[in-house]
C-alpha cells in the first residue's frame, strides 16, 4: 500500500506555537517533526513501502516521487519552503493523478494529509469546494472518493477545540465521509508541542504502519515471518456479515498443489513473506537491506546462517513448481509460492484468496481437500500423469453442450440444412440424421414452435420425392418415417410430443429380402 504524504505548505503553517521554555516553534516545525518520526519508523519497520511527498498551497508540487529511499524524503521535507494560501481540492486532484499514473486504480493507497486545519478562504477553500460538490460536471468532479481503494488520514497540527471553533473539523469530517468513510482524522491532545505531535503520529503508526508478524507453520516446521504489505481486513457481505475478517497471525500450511492445478487463481492481494529472526526483546532484526550498523550486520549474518524453514520451503516450491495452500483463518485460505522478480532474485510470496470455503471453483470446497495418500487410488497416478483437478461442475455450461438457439434466423437455417444434408446421405448418416432431427424436435416443442415441425416434415417428404433412382431404398423409408413422426409431434398429442421422447430410426431389413418390414 503505497503512501502519499500531502504536506500543507501554506503560510498559515508558519504560525508560531507558544512553547514554555526557549525556542519558538512554527506549526510547520511540529509537522516536520511528526513526519520525520513516521519516516524513521517506516525506514526501520516498513521499508518496502513506497512513499511520495507532495507539497501544496494554492498550487501543488510533487516533491518526491514514489520511493523507498527515506533519506530523500527526509531531505525534501527539511527543505520545504513556505507558500501562499491553502487550496486543498487541487492538491487532492494532484494526489489522485500521481497515484493513478504510478499504480493504476486497483492498488490501495494511503494518503496522509498534514495540515494546520486552516483550510483556506473564499474560492478554492475546502469550504467552498464542499459547498459546490454536488454541482459538478463530469470532468470537474471532486477528487474524492479516490478512484483507487484508499485510506485518507488527516494529521491536524492543531487541537480538536481549535478546529471545532471554526468549521475546520466539520469540513474535514465531510472529506473523510466523501471518501466512503475510509480514513480518520487525528488531532493533537493538550498543548501544541513536540510531545503531543509525537503521540499523534504514534497513533497513526499504530493504526496504519504496524508491521504484520506471523508464524508460518507446516506441521512441526515453523518460521517467524513478516508479511508485507500487511493484509488488511475484508468485509464479505455488509448485510449478512458486516464484521471484517482479518488474517490470523498463525499461517498454517494445509498441503500442496501443482501450479498447473491451481491455475492462475484470482487473488485479493499479494504479499511478501519475509523470514525474520525474533530476538529476546521481541523486535525483529530486519530483513536485510543495505545501510545497517556493523552490529546489525553481524547479527544478520548469524541469522542468515541458521537454517530457516521459509528458505527451504521457497526452494522446494520453486524447484517442484508447486504452491502451498495456507489457512489464513476460519474459512479463509491463500497460497504460498516462489515469485521471481528477476533472473537472480526470487522470493516467497503469499496471495490471499477470496474469503470463503470455496474460493476457487476448480478446487471445490477447501475443507474437502485431503491428503492424496488417503485416497483408495493415487489421484495423481503412479507416474504422476494424472491430476484430480480441476473439479468438474455438476452441470455443463451452455457452450459445452450442443444447445439450440434460434434467435437469429441463421441459427434455425443452419439446423434445418444440417438435417437435409444428412437426409441426402441416408442410410450412411442415419445416426447423425436422427440426432439432429431430435435436437430440432426438442427445441421446437419447448419453444411451442409446432409450425416448424410441420415445415420440416414437408421438407423431408419433398426430399423423399427428389431421391435419385440410385438411392438406397432405406433412404425413402427413413425419410417418410421421420416426416410422419414430426407431424405427429406437431399435433401436440402427448403420446408423440413428449420432450424426452426421441424419434428412433425405422428398423428395416434389406439383407433377408423381406423388403422393409416395419417394426416399430
Amino acid at each position: 500500500m503505497p503512501t502519499v504524504v500531502l504536506m500543507d505548505s501554506s503560510l498559515s503553517m508558519t504560525r508560531p506555537v507558544s512553547v514554555e521554555g526557549s525556542e519558538e516553534f512554527q506549526r510547520k516545525n511540529l509537522a516536520v517533526h511528526g513526519l520525520t518520526m513516521l519516516f524513521e519508523h517506516m525506514a526501520t519497520n516498513y521499508r518496502m513501502e513506497f512513499t511520495s511527498l507532495i507539497a501544496f498551497s494554492s498550487l501543488w508540487e510533487l516533491m518526491v516521487p514514489f520511493t523507498r529511499d527515506y533519506n530523500t524524503l527526509q531531505e525534501a521535507l527539511n527543505n520545504l519552503e513556505d507558500y501562499d494560501k491553502t487550496c486543498l481540492e487541487a492538491a487532492l486532484q494532484g494526489v489522485s493523478n500521481v497515484v493513478q499514473q504510478e499504480w493504476g486504480t486497483a492498488c490501495p493507497c494511503q494518503v496522509v494529509l498534514v495540515t494546520d486545519g486552516a483550510l483556506g478562504i473564499g474560492r478554492g477553500s475546502l469550504r467552498h469546494s464542499l459547498q459546490t460538490v454536488k454541482q459538478r460536471v463530469e470532468d470537474k468532479k471532486f477528487p474524492l472518493p479516490f478512484p483507487f481503494p484508499s485510506k485518507f488520514y488527516v494529521m491536524c497540527i492543531a487541537n480538536a477545540e481549535e478546529l471545532q471553533a471554526t468549521d475546520g473539523m466539520d469540513n474535514l469530517e465531510q472529506l473523510v465521509n466523501l471518501n466512503d468513510g475510509e480514513g480518520q482524522i487525528y488531532t493533537m491532545e493538550g498543548p501544541l508541542c513536540l510531545k503531543s505531535v509525537q503521540s499523534m503520529f504514534g497513533k497513526l503508526i499504530d493504526q496504519a504502519y504496524s508491521p504484520f508478524h506471523a508464524v508460518l507453520r507446516c506441521g512441526n516446521l515453523t518460521s517467524d515471518v513478516q508479511v508485507f504489505p500487511r493484509p488488511e481486513p475484508v468485509i464479505i457481505d455488509e448485510e449478512v456479515d458486516p464484521l471484517p475478517k482479518t488474517v490470523q497471525t498463525d499461517l498454517e500450511i494445509v498441503g500442496f498443489i501443482e501450479i498447473g492445478d491451481i491455475s492462475s487463481p484470482p487473488v485479493l492481494s499479494r504479499h511478501l513473506v519475509l523470514p525474520i529472526a525474533v530476538n529476546k526483546e521481541g523486535d525483529e532484526m530486519g530483513t536485510g537491506t543495505s545501510d545497517e550498523t556493523e552490529e546489525e550486520t553481524s547479527t544478520n549474518q548469524m541469522a542468515g546462517k541458521s537454517p530457516n524453514f521459509c528458505v527451504l520451503l521457497h526452494g522446494s516450491l520453486k524447484v517442484e513448481g508447486m504452491v502451498a495452500l495456507v489457512q489464513l483463518g476460519p474459512d479463509w485460505f491463500g497460497m504460498l509460492y516462489s515469485q521471481a522478480d528477476s533472473k537472480k532474485k526470487s522470493n516467497l510470496m503469499m496471495s490471499l484468496f477470496e474469503f470463503g470455503s470455496e474460493p476457487l471453483p476448480w478446487l471445490g470446497r477447501i475443507s474437502q481437500l485431503g491428503p492424496a495418500s488417503d485416497a483408495a487410488e493415487n489421484p495423481y497416478g503412479e507416474d504422476d500423469s494424472k491430476s484430480p483437478f480441476p473439479i468438474q461442475p455438476k452441470h455443463k455450461r451452455s457452450y459445452a453442450q450442443n444447445v439450440t438457439v434460434w434467435i437469429k434466423a441463421s441459427g434455425l437455417q443452419t439446423d434445418v440444412q444440417k438435417i437435409l444434408r444428412n437426409a441426402r446421405k441416408l442410410p450412411e448418416k442415419t445416426q447423425t440424421f436422427y440426432k439432429e432431427l431430435n435436437r430440432l424436435r426438442k427445441a421446437a416443442l419447448a419453444f411451442g414452435f409446432w409450425e416448424l415441425l410441420k415445415n420440416m416434415a414437408e421438407l423431408l417428404e419433398r426430399e423423399c420425392t427428389l431421391l435419385p433412382d440410385s438411392a438406397h431404398p432405406d433412404a425413402a423409408f427413413q425419410l417418410s418415417h421421420a416426416a410422419q413422426q414430426l407431424k405427429l409431434a406437431s399435433s401436440g398429442d402427448l403420446k408423440y410430443a413428449g420432450f424426452e421422447h426421441n424419434i428412433t430410426p425405422m428398423l428395416t431389413d434389406f439383407s433377408g429380402g423381406g423388403g422393409g418390414t416395419e417394426r416399430i
Binding site: V254, M302, V323, W362, L363, G370, P371, S398, T404, A446
Partner: protein, 712 residues
C-alpha cells in the same frame, strides 16, 4: 457485495393466453434450395414464430446466460399463466437449468388460440410470482440458520420479469397495482410464517411484446418507485430480434454484466475444431466473438476512463457497449502462475455461431489465450486471459500496473539465506507426498475430521522429525533407511509394514557388522572424520529419535522402536560411552553456537564436530564415574535433533567479533586442558559459573538443563 440482493430471486412470468399464439410476423426462410436441385421445385412457404415462441426463446436465452455466469445463488422461478398458473420449477438449486425448463415448457405447449380469452390472464402468474418471492430459498434458509439471533439480516428481495402482450397503458397500470396489492397481502401472511419471508424490495419489469408491423399500444417507461417496496419499469418491444436484444440488455443490467469482444481470432485449420462442414476451412480469416461476464472484469477500464477508448459499440444492438480485446496467439502450454486479480465466468452472446464455438472449444480443450488491451497512448498491454477450468471458461483479469512489491530483497539475503545445504529435493518429495486431492462431501474419517484436518494432521506426523539441512542428518541421506522412514510416519501400520521396518533395521545391523561406510558429511573436515562405530552410533541415535516421535501412534509403531532398541544393544561399557557421547554432543552443540569466537570456529560440519567429540572423549575417559552419575542420563536421546526444529535461533548469536587475544587465550586454555583432568564443575560451567544441584530441577519435571542453559 450482497448475496441477497434483488438478483438473488428472479420470477419469470410468461403470458400463455390465446393472443400470444399470434404470429410475430417475422418470417424465416427454411427452404434454401441449393442451385443444382432447385429446378422444378416450388420452395416451401417461410415459417414465422408466434409471440409465445419469441418470448420463450428469449427468456431461455436470458436464463442460459444467467446460469452460465452464475451457476449458483441466482435463482429463477419460471411461471406460465393462462386460465391457471403453471409453475415450471422451484427455487431449489437442482431445478435451475435450462434443460429442466425446456422440458417443462414442452409439456405446457404453445397457447391454445381457441381458449376462452375471458378467463385467461397474466395476472394469475403475477400473483403466483409474488407468492413465490415470499418463499424462502435454500440459501436464505441456510444463512438464517447460520446467523441464529441475527437472522433478520437475511433480506428477501426479488425481481419479476413479465413477458406479456398488454392492451394499453391502463392495462399496465392495472397489472402494477395488482402486484403491489398482492405484495402487501403476502407480506402480512409471510410475517407469521417460518417458511415465508416478507418481500423487502421487488422490481417489476414488464415487457410488452407486439407483432412486427403493428403500432405499440403501450409506452415505454423508466423505472419508477410505486411504493417503498415495489418499483416498476415498462418496456415495449417488437417480437423477434428486437425482443432478443432487449432481454440481452436486461440480463446485463440485472446481473451486473458487461460485454467483451475478442477480436482478431484467427480461424486457421489448425485451431479450427468445427470446420468439417465449412467450405472456407482453408482460408484464414479473423473473427470476432462477443462474450458476457461480470462487469468487474472491466473495473480497471471503467476507473481509468479507458473504457470509451477500448470499447466500440456492439454490432448487434446500438444500446450496449463492449470492450474490444485482441487475441494473442498462445505460446505452447507453459505452466505459469499469473498475477490475476479476478476471474469471471463467461457466456458467449451468440453461443452456437461458428466463431463462438470455435473459440469455446479451443479453450475447453485446455488452452489459454492472453488478451491485449489497446490503450489511449497506443501502447499495448496484456490485460486479460481466457482459460477454462473443468469445463467452465473464465475471463481472468491480469494485473497490468506497476507492482508495489517490485525489487524485494532476495530470499538469500534474509534469515537462513546463507545456508546452502537445505534438503530441497527431499522437501520437494515431501510436498509431493502431501499433495491434496478432493474428497466427496460425505468423507469424514472415524474421528469426524474433515479431509482438510486430516491433511494438517498428516503434515504434523510427517514433520515430527525433519532436519532441514543435509549436514544435520545421517539417516535421511541413506537409501537403506527409506522404507522405514516412509512407513513410520503413517497413521496406521500393518503387520507387513512392521516387518518391512524390521527388515530395514536388520539390514542396518548387517551394514554395521560389515562396517559399510555411512554418508556422514566429511566436507571440509580435517582427517578422516569420525570412526565407523561412532558413525553408526550417531545413525542409530537419529533413527531412534525418528521412531520415538511416532511411538505413541500405535502399538505397531512401538514394535518398530523395540526392534531398534533390541538390535542396537551394545556391551555395557559401550552404553556408557554412548551416554557420555550424547552429553558431550549436546555440549558440542553449545560450543558450536558459542563457537564463533573460539578456535572451533571452523567446525561447520558434523563430522568435524564428531572428531572433536572423540578427541575429548579420549582425554576424558577417566571421568566416566562422575558423568555416569549425572542426572542427565535417563533422558531420551532425542534432544539434539529437536534443536533443529524448535530452536532455529541460537540463543547467543549477538556476540560480535573476537579479538586476537581471546583467540590465543582460548587456544592455550584448550591445549592446557588436555593435559589434566578438568574439574567437573568447570567443565559444565558457563562463564565460569557452574550451576549446582541441577538434578533438583529435573526431578521437578523441568526440561534438562545443562551448563545452565536449556538445550531445547
Amino acid at each position: 457485495m450482497r448475496v441477497f440482493s434483488v438478483s438473488h430471486k428472479t420470477a419469470f412470468v410468461v403470458d400463455h393466453c390465446p393472443y400470444m399464439a399470434e404470429s410475430s410476423r417475422q418470417l424465416i426462410e427454411c427452404d434454401m434450395l441449393t442451385k443444382s436441385r432447385s429446378q422444378g421445385v416450388i420452395p416451401l412457404a417461410p415459417v414465422s414464430k408466434s409471440l409465445w415462441t419469441c418470448a420463450i426463446e428469449c427468456s431461455m436465452e436470458y436464463c442460459r446466460i444467467l446460469y452460465d455466469i452464475y451457476p449458483t445463488k441466482k435463482l429463477v422461478n419460471y411461471i406460465v399463466s393462462d386460465s391457471e398458473v403453471h409453475i415450471l420449477n422451484s427455487w431449489k438449486q437442482q431445478d435451475q437449468s435450462t434443460h429442466e425448463l425446456m422440458a417443462a415448457l414442452a409439456a405446457v405447449g404453445p397457447p391454445n388460440p381457441r381458449q376462452d380469452p375471458e378467463c385467461c390472464s397474466v395476472l394469475h402468474g403475477l400473483v403466483a410470482a409474488v407468492e413465490s418471492l415470499c418463499k424462502i430459498t435454500e440459501y436464505q434458509h441456510e444463512s438464517r440458520t447460520a446467523l441464529m439471533d441475527t437472522a433478520d439480516r437475511v433480506a428477501n428481495r426479488g425481481r419479476i420479469v413479465c413477458l406479456t402482450n398488454a392492451k394499453s397503458d391502463t392495462h399496465v397500470r392495472m397489472l402494477e397495482d395488482c402486484v403491489l396489492e398482492t405484495i402487501q397481502e403476502q407480506n402480512k401472511l409471510a410475517a407469521g410464517s417460518d417458511r415465508l419471508m416478507p418481500i423487502q424490495q421487488c422490481e417489476l419489469v414488464l415487457v410488452h411484446i407486439y407483432p412486427q408491423g403493428d403500432d405499440t399500444l403501450v409506452s415505454d417507461r423508466q423505472k419508477k418507485e410505486l411504493s417503498s417496496v415495489l418499483s416498476s419499469e415498462v418496456h415495449s418491444v417488437r417480437a423477434g430480434r428486437y425482443l432478443a436484444c432487449k432481454l440481452n440488455v436486461l440480463v446485463q443490467q440485472h446481473f451486473d454484466l458487461a460485454s467483451t469482444t475478442i477480436t482478431n481470432i484467427p480461424m486457421k485449420p489448425t485451431l479450427n475444431v468445427c470446420e468439417q462442414e465449412e467450405q472456407h476451412a482453408n482460408t484464414s480469416a479473423n473473427y470476432d466473438v462477443e462474450l458476457l461476464h461480470h462487469r468487474d472484469a472491466h473495473m480497471e477500464f471503467i476507473k481509468s476512463g479507458d473504457l470509451h477508448m477500448a470499447g466500440s459499440t456492439s454490432r448487434d444492438s446500438g444500446l450496449k457497449e463492449t470492450v474490444t480485446l485482441k487475441w494473442c496467439t498462445p505460446r505452447t502450454n507453459s505452466v505459469e502462475l499469473h498475477y490475476c486479480t479476478g476471474a469471471y465466468r463467461i457466456s458467449p452472446v451468440d453461443v452456437n455461431s461458428r466463431p463462438s464455438s470455435c473459440l469455446t472449444n479451443f479453450l475447453l480443450n485446455g488452452r489459454s489465450v492472453l488478451l491485449e488491451q489497446p490503450r489511449k497512448s497506443g501502447s499495448k498491454v496484456i490485460s486479460h486471459m481466457l482459460s477454462s477450468h473443468g469445463g467452465e471458461i473464465f475471463l481472468h483479469v491480469l494485473n497490468s500496473t506497476r507492482s508495489t512489491l517490485e525489487d524485494p530483497p532476495s530470499i538469500s539475503e534474509g534469515c537462513g539465506g546463507r545456508v546452502t545445504d537445505y534438503r530441497i529435493t527431499d522437501f520437494g518429495e515431501f510436498m509431493r507426498e502431501n499433495r491434496l486431492t478432493p474428497f466427496p462431501d460425505s468423507m469424514v474419517d472415524a474421528a469426524g475430521r474433515a479431509p482438510v484436518e486430516r491433511a494438517k494432521s498428516q503434515l504434523e506426523r510427517h514433520t515430527r522429525y525433519w532436519p532441514m539441512i543435509i549436514s544435520q542428518t545421517t539417516i535421511f541421506n541413506m537409501q537403506a533407511v527409506v522404507p522405514l522412514a516412509n512407513l513410520i510416519v503413517k497413521d496406521t501400520l500393518t503387520d507387513e509394514d512392521v516387518l518391512t521396518c524390521q527388515k530395514t533395521v536388520y539390514n542396518l545391523v548387517d551394514m554395521e557388522r560389515k562396517s559399510d561406510p555411512l554418508p556422514i558429511s566429511t566436507v571440509g573436515s580435517r582427517g578422516k572424520g569420525p570412526k565407523r562405530d561412532e558413525q553408526y552410533r550417531i545413525m542409530w541415535n537419529e533413527l531412534e529419535t525418528l521412531v520415538k516421535t511416532h511411538v505413541g501412534t500405535s502399538e505397531r509403531h512401538q514394535r518398530v522402536l523395540e526392534c531398534i532398541s533390541a538390535c542396537r544393544s551394545k556391551p555395557p561399557e559401550e552404553e556408557e560411552r554412548k551416554k557420555r557421547g550424547r552429553k558431550r554432543e549436546d555440549k558440542e552443540d553449545k560450543t558450536e553456537k558459542n563457537g564463533k569466537d573460539t578456535e572451533e570456529k571452523g567446525w561447520t560440519t558434523d563430522s568435524e564436530r564428531l572428531k572433536g567429540v572423540m578427541e575429548r572423549e579420549k582425554d576424558e575417559q577417566s571421568e566416566c564415574e562422575i558423568i555416569k552419575d549425572s542426572p542427565d542420563s535417563p533422558e531420551p536421546l532425542n534432544k539434539k535433533p529437536r534443536l533443529a526444529t524448535e530452536e532455529q535461533q541460537p540463543p547467543e548469536k549477538s556476540k560480535g567479533p573476537v579479538s586476537l587475544l581471546t583467540l590465543w587465550t582460548n587456544r592455550i586454555t584448550q591445549a592446557n586442558s588436555r593435559k589434566h583432568q578438568e574439574f567437573a564443575g568447570r567443565l559444565s560451567s558457563v562463564n565460569n559459573k557452574a550451576e549446582l544441584y541441577q538434578h533438583l530441577k529435573e526431578e521437578n519435571g523441568m526440561d534438562v538443563h545443562e551448563n545452565g542453559k536449556t538445550t531445547r
